[in-house]
C-alpha cells in the first residue's frame, strides 16, 4: 500500500466485498431452474428424458462456470448480478426452445412427416460462442476507456454493418425484412453488432460535444430549444433510422437506433428538450411510415383490432393473446400449453410461449429479471467516474431496455408489433452473442467503478485531512 503512514490509517476501508460467492450461488440456482424446467417438459409432454439430457445440462453448467471463473480472474469487483441474470434468461430460452422442438417433433410424428431438426442444439452452440466472445472481451478489454480512442472507427463500422444487408450479393431478405447477411450458408444479423458499435460511438461523440449540445438559446412556448446548428446530429441519426426503415423494411431496428440516440442525448445533456424534439421527429417519421408503407399500415391496423384480421395479418398476435389468456395466473405448466400454435414461437414470440406455460407469475418474474438487469446497468452508469463510461453503460442498458419494451410490448399488444429479438431468450445466434458482449462490457466498466482505488495520488495527501469518524 503506497499510502504514506502519516496520512491516515483510518482511510483504508475494510476488506472489499466482491460478492463473487453470491454470483456463484445464483448461477447454480439458474442451472437448477434449467434442469427442473427441462425435466418438466420431458415428463409433461410424455417424451421422457432424452438420453443426451445430462450431457447437455453439463455443457450448460460448464459454460456458466467458465464465465464465472473468468469473471473472478479478470474483473473481480464487477457487479455480481449481471452474469447470473443473463445466464438464467439464456437458460430459460434454451428450455423454451427445447419445449418447442418437442412440439414440432410430436406434430411431425402425428402427421407421419420426418422428424425436424431440433433448434436447441444450435442455440446451445450459439451460447457457447457467446460465452467465448464474453471471455474474449474480458481478456482483451482491460479498460473500457480504450474504446473511446476508436470512437469514429466504431461509428463508421456500425453504419457499414447497418447497411450491409443492402449489399447486392451477401444481403438477404427473410420474412420481408432485409436484415440478414448470408456468407456461405451462414447467416447473421449485422444490426446486432451495430447496436454495440453505435452505442460506443454515441458515447464517445457525446462526451466531446455535450457541452455545446446542452446550450440553450431560444425558448418557444416555454420549451427551451437547442440551437439550430446543433440539430445536425439528431437529424442525421433520424435520417439513417428512416433509411433503415425504408430500405431494410425493419421497424424494430430503426426504432432501436433512434431511441438509443435520443436517450443518450438526454443523458449527456440533461436537457429534456431533446426528448421532446426526439418524440416530435419520431411522430413525423411514424406518420410518414404509416402513409408510405403498406406493411407499417397493416401492423397498426392489426394492433388496433387484431381479431378483425385473425386469419390473415393478425393471426400471430391473436394466437399470442390466446396463449397468454390460456396461461392465466400460474400457467399451464411447461409442456402442457400450445405455444407452437404461434408462428415464430421461438424467436419473436418466445414471450407468449413462456407467458402461456409459466403464467402471469412466470412472465412477471421474467420482466423483473430484465428490470433488475437494466437497473444494474444504469446503476453502473451512475457509479462509474469517467463520463465516457457513464454514457456507454447507460447506452448499453438502454439498448436492452428498448428491445425488451418493443418486443414484449408488441407481443402483448401494448404497442404495434415490430420484429426485434427478445434479449437472451430468443432463438438466434447474432442476438445472443451481441447481448453477451454487452454484459461483458458492462462488467468491465463496473469492475472499474467498484474496485478499490489502486493508489491514491500522493500529492493530495499533504493537503488532505481526513475527518471521517
Amino acid at each position: 500500500m503506497s499510502t504514506p503512514a502519516t496520512a491516515h490509517p483510518v482511510a483504508r476501508p475494510p476488506r472489499q466485498r466482491t460478492r463473487r460467492g453470491l454470483e456463484l450461488i445464483l448461477l447454480i440456482l439458474a442451472w437448477g431452474i434449467g434442469v427442473l424446467g427441462t425435466q418438466q417438459v420431458a415428463w409433461a409432454t410424455g417424451e421422457g428424458l432424452h438420453s443426451r439430457f445430462w450431457i447437455t445440462a453439463g455443457v450448460v453448467g460448464a459454460l456458466a462456470l467458465i464465465a464465472h471463473i473468468i469473471v473472478r480472474w479478470r474483473v473481480p469487483y464487477a457487479d455480481p448480478f449481471l452474469l447470473p441474470i443473463a445466464t438464467l434468461l439464456t437458460i430459460l430460452g434454451l428450455v423454451m426452445i427445447y419445449r418447442l422442438d418437442v412440439a414440432a417433433l410430436q406434430r411431425a410424428e402425428r402427421n407421419g412427416n420426418p422428424a425436424p431438426t431440433p433448434d436447441v442444439y444450435n442455440q446451445l452452440t450459439w451460447y457457447a460462442v457467446a460465452v467465448l466472445l464474453f471471455v474474449l472481451v474480458l481478456l482483451v478489454l482491460r479498460d473500457h476507456r480504450i474504446l473511446q480512442r476508436y470512437t469514429y472507427t466504431f461509428g463508421l463500422l456500425g453504419v457499414i454493418l447497418l447497411l450491409l444487408p443492402l449489399a447486392p450479393v451477401i444481403g438477404a431478405t427473410v420474412n420481408g425484412a432485409t436484415l440478414w447477411v448470408r456468407v456461405g450458408g451462414f447467416t447473421f444479423q449485422p444490426a446486432e453488432a451495430a447496436k454495440i458499435l453505435l452505442a460506443i460511438f454515441f458515447a464517445g461523440y457525446l462526451v466531446v460535444t455535450r457541452d455545446s449540445l446542452a446550450l440553450v438559446r431560444t425558448k418557444v412556448l416555454g420549451v427551451p430549444l437547442p440551437r439550430a446548428r446543433d440539430l445536425g446530429p439528431i437529424l442525421i441519426v433520424w435520417m439513417v433510422s428512416l433509411g433503415v426503415l425504408v430500405f431494410e423494411r425493419d421497424l424494430g431496428t430503426s426504432l432501436l437506433f433512434f431511441g438509443l440516440f435520443v436517450c443518450m442525448l438526454y443523458i449527456a445533456t440533461q436537457r429534456w428538450s431533446w426528448l421532446v424534439l426526439g418524440l416530435l421527429l419520431f411522430a413525423v417519421g411514424a406518420v410518414f411510415a404509416y402513409l408510405a408503407f403498406g406493411h407499417v399500415r397493416t401492423r397498426v391496423q392489426v394492433w388496433l383490432d387484431p381479431f378483425a384480421f385473425s386469419d390473415t395479418g393478425g393471426y400471430q398476435i391473436v394466437q399470442s393473446l390466446y396463449g397468454f389468456a390460456n396461461g392465466g395466473l400460474f400457467g399451464t405448466g411447461l409442456g402442457r400449453g400450445y405455444p407452437e400454435l404461434v408462428p415464430f414461437a421461438n424467436t419473436d414470440f418466445i414471450m407468449s410461449g413462456l407467458g402461456e406455460e409459466l403464467g402471469l407469475t412466470g412472465a412477471i418474474g421474467i420482466m423483473l429479471l430484465y428490470a433488475i438487469l437494466i437497473e444494474r446497468g444504469l446503476r453502473i452508469a451512475v457509479s462509474v467516474r469517467d463520463p465516457f463510461g457513464q454514457l456507454l453503460s447507460a447506452g448499453l442498458s438502454i439498448t436492452l431496455a428498448i428491445q425488451v419494451f418493443v418486443i414484449v410490448g408488441g407481443v402483448t399488444r401494448l404497442i404495434p408489433l415490430t420484429g426485434l429479438t427478445t434479449p437472451f431468450l430468443s432463438y438466434g445466434g447474432s442476438s445472443l452473442v451481441a447481448n453477451w458482449a454487452i454484459i461483458a462490457i458492462l462488467l468491465v466498466i463496473s469492475n472499474r467503478a467498484r474496485r478499490p482505488a489502486p493508489e491514491s495520488p500522493a500529492s493530495d495527501h499533504v493537503a488532505t485531512q481526513v475527518v471521517r469518524r
Partner: protein, 165 residues
C-alpha cells in the same frame, strides 16, 4: 409421472424462479444500503479546506463535541460522512461529488456541483447549483438562495448537515 407430481414440479419451477429473484432483490437491497463497502477511494469523503484564506485546519478530533467553541461550523449528522465538521470562515463552502468541492460527498444521489453555502448579510446562505435531486432545507426543496438557520437539517442526497453556532 402422475399428474400430482407434475403439478408439484410445475410449482417448484415457478418457486425456484422466484427464489432467484428474491435472493437477488435481498442482495440488491444490501448493496444499496452499504454502497460504501464497494466504493472506497481514500481521498474521497474528505473535507478539504476551502481555497481562500481560512483558519488553518488542525487535525480534527473525531468527537463532534469539540468544534462548538471554534465558531460557526457545518456538522454532518447523517450519511456516510456523519460527524464530519467543516468550520465556516469567510469563504464559501461548496458541496458535491466533484473532487475540488469543499465537502466531497461520494453519493450517487448528489450532483458534481450540488450546492454552496456562503456568508450573507443575515447569516449563512445556501444555494442549490442546479442539482438533480435537489437541496432540502427542513423538508422544503429550495429553489433560490435561502438563509440557513442554525440546527435545521439541510439534506443533500443521503447526507444531512446542520449549521452550528
Amino acid at each position: 409421472m402422475t399428474e400430482f407430481a407434475l403439478t408439484l414440479l410445475r410449482l417448484a419451477f415457478l418457486g425456484a424462479l422466484w427464489l432467484f429473484i428474491i435472493i437477488t432483490v435481498i442482495a440488491l437491497r444490501r448493496d444499496l444500503m452499504q454502497p460504501r463497502e464497494a466504493r472506497p477511494a481514500p481521498t474521497r469523503g474528505s473535507a478539504r479546506p476551502p481555497k481562500p484564506a481560512k483558519p488553518p485546519k488542525q487535525p480534527r478530533p473525531p468527537k463532534p463535541a469539540r468544534h462548538a467553541k471554534t465558531g460557526p461550523s457545518l456538522l454532518v449528522t447523517e450519511g456516510p460522512l456523519a460527524a464530519t465538521v467543516i468550520p465556516l470562515g469567510s469563504a464559501q463552502v461548496t458541496i458535491g461529488r466533484a473532487p475540488d468541492s469543499t465537502l466531497v460527498i461520494d453519493d450517487d444521489y448528489a450532483s458534481s456541483r450540488h450546492a454552496r453555502i456562503y456568508p450573507g448579510d443575515d447569516g449563512w446562505i445556501v444555494e442549490d447549483l442546479g442539482s438533480t435531486n435537489g437541496t432540502w432545507v427542513d423538508r422544503n426543496r429550495i429553489t433560490s438562495p435561502t438563509i440557513l438557520p442554525p440546527n435545521v437539517p439541510l439534506r443533500i442526497g443521503r447526507t444531512t448537515l446542520q449549521l452550528q453556532r
